[in-house]
């Protein structure tokens, strides 16, 4: 069953992918058949995989049959022994179930959303392969297999973001996502090397077993001695930052909106961006032994949460708003991990997967209805025209803002309470920034809702006349996800972070004695419990004031605090900074090496130079042949004279 859950997406993806190579001969009929076949195969594969995942989840998590399923040996070289293995424990299965369910919804949604595209088999194939790599990542039992999945999702995200490769902006965004992720992956790879150096193995079970014993080891980095586990954890966290778009390496995420909307949902909700969170949770036995690393994780997470939320308040592209919101929510997850409340982080991850997928797909539905318009300033007044989507967006926003009893309320609350419960300075830092971010989250969510659905229509009449509710095949997944967005928090609270947490997680998550933030979270003062809800409602209220009742205020504020507004609008100038610090110098260096190094030195001396010298020599050699007899005779005599002289000089 477990195998089916992981490999059905691969099978479906490969079959659908090969379908895209079958020439349709320009016939519509035939092309339609091929498209339909690809859609059926991939959606069917994903649904079956989701069922298989559910069955496995029940047997492993509820039946307690944890372990690992070995497929075959991969590398056996020296002390390096690796197998392809599927790890079966609660953490993996939670991820597998979540990924397969959300992904299958997105697959089905894509059937409707991409119906006008001309390379449907390719798209469906990419989606399935992407899911497969993600499953490979979350089921890995060693770091290298995880890296395989890690790079696989990186590759597929490149292909998916650049799916519409005719658009230069899509290609640029794809490259940006790939390159920024390379930075993180480099850290991850170094982390793997360091792990192997320290433990002489990269199998999780062995590493986790040895972590305690190695807790006081030091490692030599650039001729300085450092705490080994801290170094390893920080390196691995750099990888996590890249994938999960944390402050510093987040720049690719908003640009990734160039991909088709289902891709945004897949990448930003359920899968790729959560890989970093998952990785830190998976490696909790390592992180637990390094306070420094945990502190860094907390600070980065909290900073990202508030940073992304501030930007989200001023963006006008509907998908970008949601993208920054994702960034912000990932920050929550990270600081939950940072205060050792791993299960809280994962809890938020799961609930977020549902409501963020819902929001994205809803936004996709809006965009679909608006004839591919993404700018909220050109929307408005849609709620009567697309009521189902409107309701779905409300549900998603309520969940995101953390309003009781929606999923986000439970998970966000426990995260913030855990931060408070850490009883530490960084915990307080995270808590207060989290509260501020919660306020902003609610504000921008309703800003989005109001700008999109209320007020006077700001689009032209042609577009407005064309606005229509999405087909059922798109609405059905929305409804399924909305169920998750409503009930996931309430339903899973007990297992994930409540009374049943110890039984539920088993050995999957390791928390050191004394790191009791999660335990403390249940015993915080009452005002701490209510504060997130209160600020959330306040944010909603403020959004209503600003955008519904007194639309002049935002503009007034924007002109009053021009500098701040522009600073936020330009996303804290991160892109410009990186452009100045890395991209431009890299271009200059590359250009210099290309023109000067390769063109002049290597080509000039190498191929071109040799070719030119050869031609020159050839001309001279041919010119020796003058046609005059006495020249020829003279050459012969000269040859003899030289040879004779040679022998007389060298003494024979």
């Amino acid at each position: 069953m477990y195998l089916a859950a992981v490999f059905l997406p691969l099978l479906g993806g490969l079959i659908a992918g090969s379908l895209s190579f079958i020439p349709d001969g320009g016939e519509k009929e035939r092309k339609h058949k091929l498209d339909r076949a690809a859609q059926l195969i991939t959606c069917g594969g994903m649904l079956l995989a989701a069922v298989a995942a559910l069955v496995t989840f029940i047997s492993v998590v509820l039946g307690g049959e944890t372990g690992a399923l070995e497929i075959f040996t991969w590398i056996d070289s020296g002390s390096m022994e690796l197998s392809w293995e599927l790890r079966a424990d609660t953490l993996s299965l939670v991820m597998v179930l979540m990924v397969t369910v959300v992904s299958s919804m997105i697959h089905i949604y894509s059937v409707g959303y991409m119906s006008h595209d001309h390379s449907i088999p390719r798209f469906q194939s990419y989606l399935s392969l992407f899911t497969f790599f993600m499953l490979m990542l979350v089921t890995s039992n060693n770091l290298v297999q995880m890296f395989f999945g890690w790079e696989g999702v990186g590759l597929m995200s490149y292909l998916l973001i650049g799916f519409w490769f005719e658009r230069p902006s899509a290609c640029a965004a794809a490259i940006k996502a790939f390159v920024v992720n390379r930075v993180g992956d480099f850290g991850f790879a170094l982390g793997i090397f360091a792990t192997f150096l320290m433990f002489d193995t990269i199998n999780f079970d062995v590493i986790f077993g040895l972590a305690e014993a190695q807790a006081d080891q030091t490692i030599n980095v650039f001729s300085g001695e450092f705490h080994a586990l801290t170094v390893i954890c920080l390196l691995l966290f750099v990888g996590a930052m890249g994938k999960s778009a944390q402050l510093g390496l987040h720049t690719w995420l908003p640009d990734a909106m160039e991909g088709p909307t289902p891709v945004s949902a897949l990448i930003h909700a359920a899968t790729m961006v959560t890989a970093g969170v998952f990785m830190v949770a998976r490696l909790s036995p390592l992180f637990e032994h390094s306070d420094v690393a945990l502190t860094v994780v907390t600070i980065v997470g909290a900073s990202t949460a508030i940073f992304a939320a501030t930007i989200g308040c001023v963006q006008n592209d509907i998908k970008r708003v949601i993208a920054y919101s994702t960034c912000s929510q990932l920050g929550y997850m990270f600081f939950a991990l940072g205060v050792s409340a791993y299960s809280a982080g994962i809890f938020h991850l799961v609930t977020h997967a549902f409501f963020k997928a819902l929001l994205f797909l809803g936004a996709g539905s809006v965009i679909h209805a608006m004839s591919d318009e993404q700018d909220m300033r050109k929307m408005g007044g849609l709620y009567k025209l697309i009521p189902v989507t409107y309701v779905m967006m409300w549900i998603g926003s309520l969940a995101l803002a953390g309003v009781w009893p929606f999923a986000g309320f439970f998970s966000k609350d426990i995260v913030l309470e855990a931060a408070w419960g850490a009883h530490s300075a960084v915990g307080q830092y995270a808590f207060w920034l989290g509260i501020a971010a919660a306020f902003l989250t609610a504000f921008y969510s309703w800003r989005l809702l109001i700008m999109t659905f209320h007020g006077k229509p700001r689009a032209d009449e042609v577009t407005m006349a064309h606005v229509h509710e999405s087909p059922k095949v798109m609405l059905l997944p929305l409804m399924v996800l909305s169920v998750g967005a409503i009930f996931a928090g309430l339903g899973l609270y007990n297992w994930f972070v409540g009374a049943g947490t110890v039984d539920f997680w088993g050995n999957a998550i390791f928390v050191l004695e004394g790191h009791d933030a999660l335990e403390n979270a249940h015993h915080v003062p009452l005002w701490v419990k209510y504060l997130p809800l209160v600020v959330g409602l306040a944010g909603i209220a403020m959004a209503y004031v600003f955008y519904m009742f007194a639309p002049g205020i935002p503009a007034a504020i924007a002109s009053t605090f021009k500098g701040v507004h522009r600073f936020l609008l330009n996303k804290w100038y991160f892109d410009e900074l990186y452009d100045f610090l890395f991209v431009k110098p890299a271009f200059r260096l590359g250009h210099g090496l290309w023109k000067g190094g390769d063109g002049q030195v290597i080509d000039g001396v190498g191929p071109d130079g040799i070719a030119a010298a050869t031609r020159n020599l050839a001309r001279r050699a041919a010119a020796l042949q003058s046609g005059f007899l006495y020249h020829y005779a003279f050459a012969m005599l000269l040859g003899v004279a030289i040879l004779v002289t040679w022998f007389l000089v060298t003494g024979g």
């Binding site: 003279f634 005599l637 000269l638 004279a641 007389l648």
Partner: protein, 202 residues
């Protein structure tokens, strides 16, 4: 012995001097004439060595045939030798240098020449006294050196074929003597005797 030595040096000096004149004379006819002089003196050297057959052959073949042929060729082909020498000045320095180097080197080599002790005896009695020069040559050529002799014959054959192939042209319309036909002709083939009546005409 003294007379022999004197004769040797006389012949040798004349050969070297006339050889120099062959390549330096401005008039090609003079060159050929100097060549003939050199041949004659070489024949003299052969006589000194007791090889009178070779001496005579040299005179007959080289002077009588080759040199005379040269003379004809030089006189018949109106070659502008001045034009041929045009580049002479230009190439002289380089050519002379290479020539000089080679000359010096060969001088060094001959400086290392070691004469075997029996050479003096051999050269003083070059020929068996009981056979004539011609006979001795014949014996060698047709026995020990038969292979070389025949091979040289083949070389000459090729030379002959080559000369014919490259120069012989059969020109149509040229009247040639056909000796066989002429000899074979009978009076009866060509002459008809008619009785001509007096005053009747043919």
């Amino acid at each position: 012995m003294i007379i022999q030595s004197l004769a040797f040096y006389l012949f040798s000096i004349v050969i070297v001097a006339s050889a120099l004149m062959v390549i330096s004379a401005r008039n090609p006819v003079h060159s050929v004439l100097f060549l003939i002089l050199a041949f004659f003196n070489s024949a003299g050297l052969f006589v000194l060595l007791g090889a009178e057959f070779l001496a005579m052959i040299l005179v007959v073949v080289y002077v009588g045939a080759v040199a005379v042929l040269f003379l004809f060729v030089v006189m018949m082909l109106d070659i502008n030798f001045a034009a041929l020498r045009e580049g002479f000045q230009q190439y002289l320095p380089l050519g002379a240098m290479v020539g000089l180097v080679l000359l010096i080197e060969l001088g060094i080599i001959f400086g290392s020449w070691a004469i075997a002790p029996e050479v003096a005896d051999l050269s003083s009695a070059p020929i068996p006294s009981d056979v004539t020069n011609t006979e001795a040559l014949g014996r060698l050529i047709y026995t020990d050196y038969i292979y070389f002799f025949q091979a040289a014959g083949m070389v000459l054959l090729v030379a002959m074929i080559g000369a014919i192939v490259l120069t012989h042209r059969s020109r149509p319309g040229v009247r040639k003597q056909r000796i066989g036909e002429q000899v074979a002709r009978r009076p009866s083939d060509t002459i008809e005797v008619r009785k001509v009546p007096t005053g009747g005409g043919i």
